[in-house]
Symmetry: C2
Subunit: 671 residues, 2 copies
Amino acid sequence: MSVTDAAVPEEVTPDLSETGADDTVDRELLVDNLRYTLDGRWRETRQYARRNMDRVDLLPDPTLTMQESRDRTFEHIRELGKLDFAAAGFRTEHGGTGDVGASITAIEMLGYADLSLMVKAGVQWGLFGGAIENLGTQRHHDKYVKPLIDLDLLGCFAMTEKGHGSNVQALETVATYDRETDEFVVHSTTPSATKDYIGGAAQHATLATVFAQLVTAGPGQEPEDHGVHCFVVPIRDDNHEPMPGVTIGDDGPKGGLAGVDNGRLSFDHVRIPRENLLNKYADVDDDGSYHSPIDNPNRRFFTMLGTLIRGRVSVAATAGAAGRKALAIATHYGLERRQFEAPDSDSEIVIMDYLAHQRKLLPLIAKSYALAFAQNEVVEELHEVQTAKPEDTEGDDSMAGRQRELESAAAGLKAMTTWHASHAINVCREACGGNGYLDENQLSIMRGDIDVFTTFEGDNTVLTQLVAKELLSAYAEDVRGLNTVGWARFIADMARDVILEKSAARQVVQTLLDSSGEDPEESELSNRATQVRLFRNREDHLLRTCANRLRRATAEDADAFAVFNNAQDHLLKVGHAHMERVVLEAFIEGIENCDSKAAADLLGTVCDLFVYSALEDDLDWFLMHRHVSVERAKAIRRGVNELCKELRPHAQTLVDAFGVPEALLTVAMEG
Amino acid sequence: MSVTDAAVPEEVTPDLSETGADDTVDRELLVDNLRYTLDGRWRETRQYARRNMDRVDLLPDPTLTMQESRDRTFEHIRELGKLDFAAAGFRTEHGGTGDVGASITAIEMLGYADLSLMVKAGVQWGLFGGAIENLGTQRHHDKYVKPLIDLDLLGCFAMTEKGHGSNVQALETVATYDRETDEFVVHSTTPSATKDYIGGAAQHATLATVFAQLVTAGPGQEPEDHGVHCFVVPIRDDNHEPMPGVTIGDDGPKGGLAGVDNGRLSFDHVRIPRENLLNKYADVDDDGSYHSPIDNPNRRFFTMLGTLIRGRVSVAATAGAAGRKALAIATHYGLERRQFEAPDSDSEIVIMDYLAHQRKLLPLIAKSYALAFAQNEVVEELHEVQTAKPEDTEGDDSMAGRQRELESAAAGLKAMTTWHASHAINVCREACGGNGYLDENQLSIMRGDIDVFTTFEGDNTVLTQLVAKELLSAYAEDVRGLNTVGWARFIADMARDVILEKSAARQVVQTLLDSSGEDPEESELSNRATQVRLFRNREDHLLRTCANRLRRATAEDADAFAVFNNAQDHLLKVGHAHMERVVLEAFIEGIENCDSKAAADLLGTVCDLFVYSALEDDLDWFLMHRHVSVERAKAIRRGVNELCKELRPHAQTLVDAFGVPEALLTVAMEG
């Protein structure tokens, strides 16, 4: 496997503007260099995927029935199984190849083909496999990892219930230990305890990793609820019939993801061996006594959940890919399609030449670049954290902090990217007019498929709030799990310094900041340090003022919930502002790491458009809080237009650099 | 038919806040009074529709194949045919009952059931029927109107081509008069001349109203292109096979509207009798000579198009209905669903109690109210204009002006309402989490169905621009049809006064303005006159500055297209600002006409939320142009939160008043 086709030579690409000799060759080199940069550390995985996925038959087929779509996705995942995509997600000692980053990157690449296929793969190897891998111990690894990689064992991930999605700690499924038989009895205690939306449950899965309240009584003790734990529960027998006590339902047709068999599971006193508890973080002895290396139940719960972060990261990565693909399709069309006469000409105007059209697509392309760099960083950090050898990190307190910040970054980026992708695909559909609505042009299918990405793996509003809460509590231990009031009181008691302390910058950003003046209003808006300062100052301002508001919750007569609730929009804004700053800084670092001058220059302009658009979207805040003057605000608006004009000639280059396999961009429409 | 259940008694409903006696009864009365107000002039039609449409079997069935969906929609439209919905759209002398307003209202009500059904009905009776009715003469009315009302004749409306959607004047289908045979020869001159997205073409229609360039040579003359005209072209024979020379394609699966058989038509020298020209505005004699009462080809074209406005109005009306239905479904769910523990309580918090959830749904509900009042006004004006007897308006110059302003209002409201509906349904889907994604809960189906409403009957961006252009040219005759440069030059030559002159207010608004001070910054923001002034001042400011920018196009060395293009975002903003002002004023008039004090008070608060949200969405503009101070801007943000809190207890009432038939709100999900 080689990536020479994208390798950056020592002598970097000449700047396009400096050469008139052979623009075509230069453009191709520029595309290669951009793609190389954008591909990040797992570029070999991407290239491998591109070579193997450049097949039009991988695209969703809208003429199939739901059942046919499910069957076809199932066939495709079996083919994928042969490509060694899956083993990367599992440690070598468990039977995998131990390359977490590659496994997520491979799943992301499926987003260029078919989101149903990605979800199906994500459920099997990421969620179900991830639970076995990260919550189980050797007995589970030995038994399940190899067969699940090879698809000899098909599983599903049964966490969400009808009654509880965001509030996982309140799940109503209960697994009670029965000392007599040395079994857990898994039971859906209410109708709302029914597991729902479970990918794979409706048809293919034979095993489920079921999240349930663990109840057990130690010797001579009363039964006690130890909180949510994960259990391996067989749901279908050898004839693929539901196991005794297991009721399986089908969620039926959905807004998209036709190839995914989402279903419902409920349990009527289903007995499983004690060994089926995934017992890495807690175990029950045969006498019923419960023990865990983590004493605090909240911390234990969130530690377990934290190991499952891969699902969230994969969803964000894939949404990013889907958004880029839609933008590539719409941009190609916008560069071909003509409408209304050009002045002094017989031909009509290419619609991408209209400012309104540029304003629709180019800022979204810029944001896609920004998010891709941020995503690459999260995947890299996730890889580092999850592949660190226990013996190397033992006693290393920083690992817990890194895990915590990683979870927050993953949550924030998931919300930001899935909202962006859903919005971008919607805009792209509309930008292709009636053509966009025909399934033969893909965008309408993608629009339906992407929709639920804003919901699954964490509702975006809840996740954005989570990011803000983590920031406000400075990632303090033992805050999570507190209810709203408890949390508000905690924040109120914290010193302001703790919050601001978190703003230490990465090296490249610190250097930028050090080399420029302090006052953002004095310097050029195109100055990168000024841009960073605007983003950082906004975040700090919001954090400080939000903390102040929440502090009121401690007042003697305060209704703590009301204080929290009144500040909820403020809190969400903290999350947005934080993530936008994080993404900008990742973009800057990405450009810093680009060795091609021409590519870096173009990325610089793309970064400018990302910044100007973000500022424009939040201009009222910047004006209201006097972080920009009226004159500067007007310059920002003008700047977006000017940057659109500047990037217009590079539109094709920018979307080509996404590296979506040609066959997967197949559409019927022509300009 | 009676509407006593919603009638407002002389002695109006007591204000809810003043009574503690029997809140339940009062709430129902309040709902009735709100609905009565919102229902507008054609409330009897609405009530009739409600009684006949309260059937769960009218909802789309997502388990059907595309073919089954089409068949089912076809069955439903046959049932509708029996309800006398259709005849209202046609003049009594043509065989109808001549109630244009009722016909549009009836079609709008279908939006509560199934958007496929609405589109199918809209194509048959509104577009195809509308073309016959409004562009044809007695020979066409006699032959087609009765059978098309009764569905003995099924038609389609073949305007859009692959190559031309927005730019209808550039259609490439040509109808050439052949004197030898006294026929028109209809021909698709290029592949891009293929008619596309034509509802009904793929399967059901036997006749098409085809828009084509009319080419004819008068005696001793060269053939001349007289521009786009409409022709009746049989596309299927008695065996339902394509007519000779007609090629019919199927657009296949789409992003939604599964029950509509969209297709493609191309013509290979298809011959039709000369009489098949819909000849109200132009005719060709048997010697090939062309004559029209309207000399100017542009004016003729836009006059013909203008008579087809009903389609655009119906689409806006239906989108409004779909948005309201989605908000009713999401609000019901939000009032039942609980998540996360309430402080000092065992139960969880109703999600509608979260500020973030209120902020998602309540401003959209407020905007739905605002748009509904504006829509009612447009329907009323359309009814008046289209039912005016020719003998009463002969020589009445104001009719042309009314028609022109009506077209602009219809275009603007179509863009505003369909964008609103698409956005609202998307938000509602997300607000219902995983449940929202299951077709059994309707929202995901609606999300797919509504999408193309932003495109068909005029791309929203193009329509918004049209509104602005009309304003800037003060609805001057003969401006339409000018290309971009010609138009920009026209604007440049106009005096500023002509533009501002258009801002004369309706009586109720003028009274408001007269009774308050001049300076919006000095008065209370809750003051209605202040609100109107903010909206009007924004519009005037944008209009004036946009005109100034466009004036640069006349400079000696100016690139007129570049001048126009650089101002395109400004131009679109003019359109938005204008429409928002028009909608606000319609809301104010709607409240003025509400005889129930309790209902009017509640509507007043809803109107406040509409205003505050609109101001919040555009706060950067108001700040940048110093139309509001920083302090006022902060008050606006706070105001949205406060109004959400104030309206939270009325959420159920507000959506009940939409009057969506109970059966059509059927969903599987429970809170």
